[in-house]
Amino acid sequence: MMSNQAINSVVIVGGGTAGWITAGRIAAEHQHNPSIEVTLIESPDISPIGVGEGTWPTMRTTLLKLGISESDFINQCDGSFKQGAKFAKWVTGEDDDFYYHPLVLPQGFHKTNLAKYWHEQHQKSGKSFSELVCYQEAICEQGLAPKTIRHGEFDALANYAYHLDSAKFSAFLQQHCTEKLGVKHVLANVESITSHDNNDIASVITKEAGEIFGDLFVDCTGFSALLIGKHYDVEFVPCDDVLFIDTALAVQVPYELDDSPIASHTISTAQDAGWIWDIGLQHRRGVGHVFSSRHTSKERAYEQLGKYVGEGFEQLQLREIPIKSGHRKIFWKNNCVAVGLSAGFLEPLEASALVLVELSAQLIAEQLPACRQVMDVVANRFNQTFDYRWQRIIDFLKLHYMLSKRTDNAFWVDNRNPDTIPNSLQELMTLWQYHPPADHDFSSNNEVFPAASYQYVLYGMGFVTENLTHAVCDRDHNLALQQFQLNQQAISKASRLLPSNRELINKIRQYGLQSV
């Protein structure tokens, strides 16, 4: 391959959400450049794992970039609105133990740091951190949507993400990418790979469609990691010494009634040796138990899932998914980049799977190397960026475990063992004993979780930052008191204006959202 040869042909191996999001983002970004051609090869025999059913607010940007109408997406992907996550029983395991990680920043976040003052408010009112600084918990507790039917597509009163049916989302993206964005769809099984002298992939040879050449190959083949793993043998870096979850049991639970309420947040309820996710779609819930098989048995995990789901559980089809926590040492090797499960996997505690796909697809689409000569530069950047992002996500997930006070199973005790806590996180924890998390703790352009997310988890789980170092000035204190008040006003306003999540979704199905 000539070093200054233009990168025109992008071949994505593997369908599923990772494949279609990547194909779509690249095709949309370069749709006015006729020489760029995007091909997606999908095996007709392998069905996608379809793990990601919860997104981040980034998905709104992704859909916009792809030129997708939000109403169509909601209608065709069983979509509903998600306003963050509720963590139940993570601290003490008692029935009244819960906290929120919402999607709205603390009130006045760019004016003052309410984390410095929330404790005195808490002592007066007994209210939690997220209740005091953010109006979104109140919306979620009332089952309200983040917007009204009068908001245009992607517009809202409160920041939001989605819950979606992964299989339907894949099919929806496939149709959009092939019909609107000119992505070529090839149904074929890849059987072998040919290489250039420099070890770049020259082509993949398929059983049904012959040899397919490309300048850049994207590995979206899921756990099988056909290109990055089997072909290039890039090392997999496990992190099961930090995060112990290794198995998921998942079911799809129908609603009792057509009009049953839809929770507008993901619910994560801690168990003996893991936790149960609960994601409300339009026509069903997605519920699953992820656990550490080193700390509990599959029978016990099954039993707990059954207890959580209740009546009718035995009739549901159970899926078991192995969770091999970790990621590739590098994600982009030669002219091959891994996106999705082939790049790595973590328990879905903070819905990191789809957002990593979106961020990867964005970087590839926006920084698509012009020619082979510059590809290694972009590849290095990609590898550094995503290694950093994986580490930060691992740290953030670990935070949820290390702050638990549960002692009912060795799972929780082991999670607090300092040997299992990454140094980067230990360092931050030392700092946060005296300084609340602030944006300067997270100075990289590639941050995934901002300081506010750490605040919600830290203070939601009862962590105390000593307020002894720097005297606070009256002016800042008064500004903070004002923000606490503004938040209470925002709660009243939102509670008055917003419809229930179910009501809004029914209206969208009936009338659609306007584009403005």
Partner: protein
């Protein structure tokens, strides 16, 4: 309060409509629904904008008559002070409904609880022989215009949506009493996008009459200043003695 029933010569033969009261329906509306077939008359006095229906999120065409809920700045000295009053006001107390028994479309209905109805005052609906009076015939004509206007307006809005020509209009005023008010939830025609349309599309819009409607709407925006003037006049005459304290 309303109770809509199909108009019936037998049932309603003694009813009269007090036409002086009809305009009162608009007394406290700050937005009045209008149809595209009224634009040519509406533009003489009102800004013509779009707003979203609170229940469905769908766009409606409205004439803006005030800056806050309950305020119609054209309502002065107990009358609707305007050379043209929109059909959706003048149609009172008549509506178009579907007759459930016959399944017939477009049955003329009357709001039996309407305050404009009287046994003694106003225009009779039927004569002694049970025949429709000229007044009722005129009311029927008004409804027919409304119905045809609704469909045309629906098509017009759909076209604007398809071409993505609607744009939010954020109005911010400082009135004479130094109070600022921000008015949200209004939409207008995106002039920049309209200018960028290709010749073929423009030709189509021209021959369908939509282009003229759009420019009528754009021209009607100037009426916002007239409305603002009315608002300031109203504020100015509230109290000749006091002025507002500085904040």
């Amino acid at each position: 309060m309303s109770k809509l029933v199909a108009l019936n010569p037998l049932h309603h033969r003694h009813l009269k409509v007090d036409t002086k009261k009809v305009e009162e329906y608009g007394a406290d509306l700050h937005m009045i629904p209008v149809g595209v077939n009224e634009f040519a008359k509406i533009v003489a006095q009102f800004p013509i904008l779009f707003t979203k229906n609170a229940q469905t999120g769908q766009f409606n065409c409205i004439a803006l008559t005030g800056f806050e809920e309950g305020e119609n700045l054209f309502w002065q000295n107990a009358q609707f002070d305007s050379v043209y009053i929109p059909l959706s006001v003048m149609r009172q107390p008549f509506f178009v409904g579907q007759d459930e028994q016959s399944g017939q479309d477009y049955v003329m209905c009357i709001n039996e609880l309407s305050s404009v109805l009287s046994k003694t005052e106003g225009e009779a609906l039927f004569d002694e022989n049970g025949q429709a009076t000229p007044f009722l015939a005129q009311a029927q004509e008004c409804l027919a215009q409304l119905v045809s206007g609704e469909q045309q307006t629906f098509d017009y809005i759909q076209m604007l949506n398809d071409l993505k020509l609607l744009v939010p209009l954020s109005l911010e005023f400082t009135f004479i009493d130094e109070q600022s008010r921000k008015i949200q939830g209004l939409y207008s025609i995106d002039e920049d996008k309209l200018k960028q349309l290709d010749g073929k599309t423009l030709e189509k819009l021209n021959s369908s009459g939509s282009l003229q409607l759009m420019y009528t709407q754009i021209a009607s925006l100037a009426q916002i200043y007239v409305l603002l003037n009315k608002k300031n006049q109203k504020l100015g005459e509230v109290d000749p003695w006091f002025s507002a304290a500085a904040e």
